[in-house]
Symmetry: C2
Subunit: 424 residues, 2 copies
Amino acid sequence: MTDSTASKVAVATGGDKYKRSPLAPEAFPDLPAIDGVRFAAGEAGVRYRNRVDVMLAHVAAGSTVAGVFTRSATRSAAVLDGQAKLPHQSPDHGFAIVVNSGNANTFTGKRGVTDVELIAAAAAAALRLPAGHVYTSSTGVIGEPLAASKITDILPVLVDALDAGAAEMAARAIMTTDTFPKGAVARAEIDGTPVTIMGFAKGSGMIAPDMATMLGYVFTDAAVTQTALQEMLSAVNRVTFNAVTVDSDTSTSDTVLMAATGRAGNVPLTAPHGGFQAALHSVMEDLAHQIVRDGEGATKFVEVRVTGAMSDADAEKVARAIANSPLVKTAIAGQDPNWGRIVMAVGKSGAQADRDLLTIRFGPHVVAEHGWRAEGYDEATVAGYMTHAELLIDVDLGLGAGRATVWTCDLTHAYIDINADYRS
Amino acid sequence: MTDSTASKVAVATGGDKYKRSPLAPEAFPDLPAIDGVRFAAGEAGVRYRNRVDVMLAHVAAGSTVAGVFTRSATRSAAVLDGQAKLPHQSPDHGFAIVVNSGNANTFTGKRGVTDVELIAAAAAAALRLPAGHVYTSSTGVIGEPLAASKITDILPVLVDALDAGAAEMAARAIMTTDTFPKGAVARAEIDGTPVTIMGFAKGSGMIAPDMATMLGYVFTDAAVTQTALQEMLSAVNRVTFNAVTVDSDTSTSDTVLMAATGRAGNVPLTAPHGGFQAALHSVMEDLAHQIVRDGEGATKFVEVRVTGAMSDADAEKVARAIANSPLVKTAIAGQDPNWGRIVMAVGKSGAQADRDLLTIRFGPHVVAEHGWRAEGYDEATVAGYMTHAELLIDVDLGLGAGRATVWTCDLTHAYIDINADYRS
């Protein structure tokens, strides 16, 4: 990281308004350089003052790219643009990603589409790429026109500043109500060739106070074909980013992009590779967990694990019903081992369930089984467990082999403070 | 109402802990006597002290009965019992309803089933009815054994106290975290014969702090066959009790029972009757709205009206996505006309939607249309509208003729206070 970027990091935390989450990791990880990938971040003043709010990533020619996007029916202009471009990438060119925070450019009509085109055109010109090879994301206020010129004006400066070591700056530039930047790294071997996967993400509420979105960017020096990259990204996404929920709300802008530069020199993967996919899983799960740890107002990190369902889909229904229940989440905030609310959530989930076969555990403690409170259940012991910052809610339906895990956080006064706070 | 019951009313509000909702109606309505129906309420001390917590309703021979129950997969013993009895009612006998508050008798294993049988048997003996003609409901803590003897012990006293004018007492006895009792009345004519429909209900959270449930009991002196009564109750229930949501959570004990004594002397209705069904709708909608007005921590009563969907089912998906979104509900608490969150909720609902055809109104104010903030949108004006206690969110999808209306309330700090409060 250069001196000039380091000086900006000090003011880039966005943490003036909201206190760093008590569940945050101790420090941002050392993100290694990925051969073929460079970053820059700058202060465009889209909405925030005195912090970086635009990041540029450049990925060298010869790279492949994959992406997953929100399924919202009211997707942002940038998401629609990215979805249209993805099938037409050629590794002959490099590609670029431009992300701004402060404005989501969502529900901004035809003007929003034009703004995406303007940003892509400016980045393409500055980097000498086809505009079809520039992806954009915008995160922040919905329904306000984006001042694209603020972003296009600083793109030439960002291009000059591109630096393989600037990933942390980039991670900071995409923050909205995040109270800490989120990065992760993992390594794997492909037929003896060491490869690295590195990524960063942002997200706090599924939509924070008018700020939209979960965004993730993952980079590797492994050689992977477009098809294999997309297949692995989609598969891992399902059990990582798609398995976290802060408040059940889905953003209009959710995007995960992944690039593989091939510079590690392995024989290109043409199909999913166990070791590589495990490393990718580790990076994406780490980032997904950090998003929950930064959940608005969160004081508890909660894993909801469901087993014994008739199908994986049924298990997921139950896990999400528990993880999204305001009554479960407020009980956790109150450190109350209120397993009656878990029973309620199982009941309402729509999944097949039999009250008398259900086993509910809080961490190692069986609290309910055989249709009743567990024999030997000791309220004081379990209440003690609930004081931990990291909790496991384990539900076995006793019916089949279906299983699912979802991560969530508690629902506290701070969530209301953040989200009932008037925007202006 | 007799003197002895009146003296109990004074201590029966359950309002010591929680302040009367600011959205409560001014007063409990004058509930008229329904010929053939009598009520009694008493203090059994199931959990609460110094308030009535058991109600008995007796409906005379010659009456028909209909019911709707929670669809939860973890239904309570009382619900399962009621569902089993309903198809086998004969009008040759009367029937009875026994409801206790303070304990839900849910997830209490085989003991819970026995407790239901004990209560039904005791009521049947005291009233000289077949036990198959006694319905029970229990609402309160989940997972604690119900001390059935406390209830069976006072049943003979309640039988002696049965009184056609004691409906308000009965309404108070079934309250848990409710901050006010809920009653409603409407009148209709069937071929010139005046008939009356009267009912009461309880409910605050879908599950309040460990207290379960929405319960409703409706009585009429009209003559209606079992089949017609069930058909009208089910139809009206879909658009009243099933169209309110406080926190998206579904109770294990939700029950609505309706009795028709036939004493009004009309020619029995064998099929739905417009005027009668309209009056029933009025009673049930009034009660459903009162439940939302007593939503835990509610400061705003919100109608979410969706039109222009491809189908009614799609409209309902959108309405529920809006009404259950924590981000929408916290914005309303903050009096923030945050229509971006409405766009988000439409997008995540799973219903067919087109961003550019969407029109969003807050009350009379168009806030968004044609894929963008409405021309002439004035933030100050709409923010002024949001300060009202009763709000309308009106979404037109611009696609078809599907429509749905759902009622909800805001999500406030008080909801967290009530639900994160440790049970003991």
